[in-house]
């Protein structure tokens, strides 16, 4: 039971972390704004289901598109402005912009939709081994998305260009890889993954303006623990963190559940400054 619910919340951490990780390792931007794309995608999914009555998979796709478009636009029209010909110099400004965007969008969500939680209607009944199908779907969808991202990054030409850029931006450019295009792709991917995570969990936990805070912060922990640039590291750490929290909440104290991740983060970084799977 703890294992099951841990894997599910861990899937959410892992999905958000995967997007953050790809963006971070290529652009040097810890894109906090992903936390608010998560929220807005969840609302998009919620309204699509409740107002337009679309089936859940369509709402999921819509949430992913909303996340992708928002992330893409923030990169295209904002972050890119501070990235001059010497790319890495602007990282500090971009970090501030990312944090500003996060609070800006969070505030807007609160203003528009109020802080009252909205109940996302269940789209499926039934359960297996004490876990509802809706919960199991979160895990399955996460695995599918991880496999897709992995295949994209490892096997396709744009995927290889992205990997090359994550190792050496300048050299990638010299070989003809357009970094603007790479950035657009990775931001859109990151936004889509955050959006997917958000819509997948919404039927389990309802929709509210601060719903993105914890997944965002936990995902940051997962990225740091999982090591930049490592897809499998993120999956393992994301799921591991979810499971550890679930067991910790049951056997130690649920009051400390959300502090646990940050305790582990500091401890791990003291012992292994590059994270558990770090390579870059």
């Amino acid at each position: 039971m703890q294992l099951g619910s841990g894997l599910i919340i861990g899937s959410v951490y892992a999905l958000v972390a995967l997007g953050l990780n790809i963006i971070w390792s290529i652009t040097d931007i810890p894109d906090f704004a992903q936390g608010s794309f998560y929220v807005i995608a969840a609302y998009a999914g919620y309204f699509a289901v409740t107002l337009a009555g679309v089936p859940f998979p369509v709402a999921l796709l819509l949430g992913m598109c909303v996340g992708a478009i928002m992330a893409f636009s923030c990169e295209r029209f904002l972050y890119r402005r501070w990235r001059e010909r010497t790319f890495r110099a602007a990282a500090r400004v971009q970090l501030l912009v990312a944090i500003a965007l996060f609070f800006l969008f969070a505030n807007a969500a609160n203003a528009i939709w109020t802080s009252k939680a909205k109940i996302f209607p269940a789209y499926m009944k039934g359960s297996l081994l004490g876990l509802s199908y809706m919960r199991i779907n979160v895990f399955l969808a996460a695995i599918v998305l991880f496999i897709l991202v992995y295949l994209f990054i490892m096997k396709t030409k744009p995927g290889k260009a992205i990997r090359a850029a994550s190792m050496d931006v300048g050299m990638a450019q010299v070989l003809g890889i357009n970094i603007d295009t790479v950035n657009s792709i990775v931001f859109a991917m990151g936004g889509a993954l955050s959006g997917a995570a958000a819509v997948l969990v919404s039927p389990l936990y309802s929709v509210f303006p601060t719903m993105g805070d914890l997944p965002l912060l936990k995902a940051l922990v997962v990225v740091i623990l999982g090591g930049f640039g490592s897809v499998s590291g993120v999956l393992i750490c994301g799921l591991g963190l979810g499971v550890a929290e679930a067991f910790g909440a049951t056997y130690i104290s649920s009051a400390y559940q959300h502090g646990f991740a940050f305790f582990v983060l500091i401890l791990t970084l003291l012992l292994r400054p590059k994270g558990l799977f770090g390579r870059v």
Binding site: R85, K160, A164, G170, V174, L175, I177
Partner: protein, 235 residues
């Protein structure tokens, strides 16, 4: 004339390194650019590559100005780079590194042809296709770096310290390859701290000091030049 730098000034942000440098390279030449550590050789190469902007002056390649071209477009004109420090994608295989060298080539058949050409020059790469680049020895990595740069079938190849840190046997091999490439019709700008060896295979040379060209001429003349002998050949 294939490549021409006309009074370029360049550097890093506010820091100006390259001062009023003019150079020219003819088709099928090997031109050596020599100078002490920190003279600005790599900065010139990075500027031609589009990784650094010029603050003034122009760079002309086959009659076209390229100094304002974005870095990722430069390779499409036929310019390629063996960068200082190799800069391989160490977590990728030999084959992936080579494929990235031909990233701009959309014709798959031509990618295959270029790869065969590279494998012909460096048979070791063919045998180790699936190996991660980072696990190679220094010499093998340098061969892969040159191979990657050749995958776009460049007309003009810039080589930044290709023999740095290699054992004497491998250094000889690298210089041999440079000569072979010249015979295959690749025009070469060779940056080396190994001044004697590079002037021995070059047609012409430029000597760079503190970001400015102080001397230029036929390679054989430079080898006989008293100042060059004293400063760079230890004589």
């Amino acid at each position: 004339m294939m490549v021409e730098l006309k009074s370029i000034n360049a550097g890093y942000g506010q820091i100006q390194i390259v001062r009023d440098v003019s150079m020219s390279i003819d088709k099928d030449e090997i031109v050596a650019l020599v100078g002490a550590n920190g003279a600005g050789k790599s900065t010139i190469i990075k500027t031609i590559s589009g990784l650094l902007p010029v603050s003034s002056g122009s760079i002309i390649f086959e009659g076209k100005r390229i100094e304002n071209m974005p870095a990722h477009k430069i390779i499409t004109t036929g310019i390629s780079l063996v960068p200082e420090g190799r800069r391989l994608f160490s977590y990728m295989t030999v084959q992936e590194n080579l494929e990235l060298g031909a990233y701009v080539e959309t014709n798959q058949k031509r990618v295959q042809e270029n790869m065969e050409w590279v494998f012909g020059l460096f048979p070791i790469l063919d045998e180790r296709r699936a190996q991660l680049a980072g696990t190679f020895s220094g010499g093998e990595q340098q061969m892969l770096t040159i191979g990657r740069a050749l995958m776009s079938k460049p007309k003009f190849l810039m080589m930044d310290e290709p023999s740095l840190g290699l054992s004497p046997v491998i250094v000889d091999e690298v210089f041999k390859i440079v000569k072979v490439l010249q015979n295959e019709g690749v025009t070469i700008l060779l940056v080396e701290q190994n001044v004697r060896k590079s002037l021995e295979i070059a047609n012409r040379g430029y000597v760079l000091e503190h970001g400015g060209i102080v001397l230029s001429g036929e390679a054989t003349e430079l080898l006989e030049d008293e100042n060059v002998k004293k400063a760079y050949l230890g004589m």
